[in-house]
Symmetry: C2
Subunit: 337 residues, 2 copies
């Protein structure tokens, strides 16, 4: 807790502490709060108290109340909703920010905060497609992904990294973007911020399923493209040669580039067949102009792809195919694709 | 500063404080640190001290040293690099996390942290294309963008939101993705975390350039798709009807969908002309099969687009165009596109 938060809470008549949105490790917050503010003012509350919210709003209307949690308070949507209700009821609110795993995890791993994409949470529910798609989209943009793992205080349930890894492996089997294979760098920060924090790396989802990571909580990070300073930091943290970390984002290729690669080969092969067939044709057709254009547009497709103009690349290869196929649809030439 | 950080620093023989990576508002940190740890232990250091780093590493090797800054310490890459060097030299390090604007800004605006995309910093240097492209990519995925603004302690320079807005308007003129127009929601959090923090909204980059926002620092947020609870929070914060906030991400359309829209119309018009021309042709060509395929593939393109299969949509419309254009290249038909 920040000094500013301590000072802010000092003036509150009622201090509520909830620990269900974010776990606290290694110390008894309730005891600390009671010690600092007096046990008569401090009360530990459950999920229902925060979600229902009517009690704290009622108290805040007539006096002053603090809701204390771990992490940055507004990362949990429940707290945001409670604040919206307070604002609507004309209750003055103030957020006293704390440090959040969302920022801390990058720092602990030596990864730059501006290289992170969207964060995602994995749960017991089969939501792995969402996580997989989020990681895929981030990788396409070269970005790192933070995967938070479900925690349920009431049943003391933490989603284990091995369960998350298994679910992601299943998603890979189903969605087939080929982002996870036997050379994928996966990082786990365990017990972040505590005395026995640790950092682990594995090279595949299968290896991650076998890792013994100790007590929760854990956060998984799937790095994207690594800046050389990020490689050096990881190398120093994991005692490994910086150049040995794979670039996960290099594996993530857009459908467009796979399309252009595949169809370029097919089109050029079909073009060779069409040229042979045209040599024996007596139709009054300017085959040559058509064939030259097929060739040009196939080359253009590759060029556009290299320039990062993916839509134009796909348009060009489609166009080249169409030019050639028109000759078959119109019964003008017979040749194989 | 957190209680944990205070405790951690307590054991350090040397406490260095730097304020160039992140500004501090409203209180004199040096004075506070000196008060807490004794002025003989505390020293304010400049940029060069941190970037060079040799002094603090030397001290840490033989005794213990703390480097204090505002925000989350590892958000600045300079700190990450210093830590990597320490690790390599066998110096034990520990990060005592703080709250960061990167997490706090979402909370202050009632926007969910998992709806944020990549963060970007704008500087005096003409880097607006990077910022524009980052916002564009985030909007395509429906995500919010945080735009941090350059701060240079040595010249006490803060990039003003109006300068950033002007630069983004120029980028819009050049890059033409049409993401900023007269109905774009732009949010600014000014002096975040201080007593006189304020939140402002404007509906265009032009309006933002005219806004008087007071003293720095400021952070700009370009929201993407708004969840209804985010709308409600913004409505309560800005005293505005939640439904009146525009969805900025609806404006961001992929090049592929613009291509398919435009080329579908052109292809269907050309097809009508080709049909007329074919009626007068005496060539032994099965025009009908070609025309039917042009029509089918144009319809397919629209269908693929609606299904979110953008690459297939572009491939289809390119193919349809090629089928038809082949008749012109081969001198089989003359018709207008």
């Amino acid at each position: 807790m920040t000094l500013k938060a301590m000072k802010g809470i000092q003036n509150c008549e009622h201090v509520y502490y909830e620990s269900y949105t974010s776990p606290v490790l290694g110390h008894d917050v309730l005891e600390e709060l009671s010690g600092a503010f007096g046990s008569s003012r401090v009360e530990k509350v459950k999920r229902e108290f925060v979600e229902d919210g009517s009690k704290i709003l009622e108290v805040a209307k007539n006096s002053s109340a603090a809701l204390v949690c771990s992490g940055d308070p507004m990362v949990a949507t429940t707290h945001q909703e409670l604040r919206t209700r307070a604002l609507r009821q004309g209750i003055q609110t103030r957020i006293l920010h704390g440090s959040s795993v969302l920022c801390a995890v990058g720092g602990e791993l030596g990864l730059h905060s501006y290289n992170f994409g969207r964060v995602v949470t994995m749960t017991r529910e089969p939501m792995q497609y969402t996580a997989y798609e989020t990681v895929f989209r981030n990788l396409l943009n070269g970005l790192h992904s933070t995967i938070l793992l479900e925690w349920d205080e009431s049943s003391n349930f933490f989603l284990e990294p091995k369960s998350a890894a298994k679910a992601l492996a299943e998603a890979e089997k189903d969605l087939k973007q080929e982002i996870f294979n036997s050379e994928t760098l996966l990082l786990v920060v365990s017990r972040l911020g505590s005395e026995n924090q640790s950092i682990s790396a594995s090279r595949s989802l299968e290896e991650l399923q076998r890792l013994e990571l100790g007590a929760p909580p854990h956060v998984i990070v799937v790095p994207g493209k690594l800046h050389f300073t990020e490689r050096e930091a990881l190398g120093a943290l994991l005692d490994r040669e910086p150049s040995t970390f794979p670039d996960n984002s290099a594996k993530a290729s857009r459908l467009s580039s796979r399309m252009v690669g595949k169809y370029s080969i097919k089109t050029m092969a079909a073009l060779a067949n069409a040229r042979k067939a045209a040599a024996n044709s007596d139709l009054r057709i300017n085959f040559n102009d058509i064939f030259e254009n097929v060739e040009c547009y196939t080359q253009d497709a590759q060029r556009f792809l290299n320039e990062g103009k993916e839509e134009l690349a796909v348009l060009s290869i489609g166009y080249a195919e169409g030019l050639l196929d028109s000759l078959r649809f119109g019964d003008q030439l017979e040749f194989e694709w």
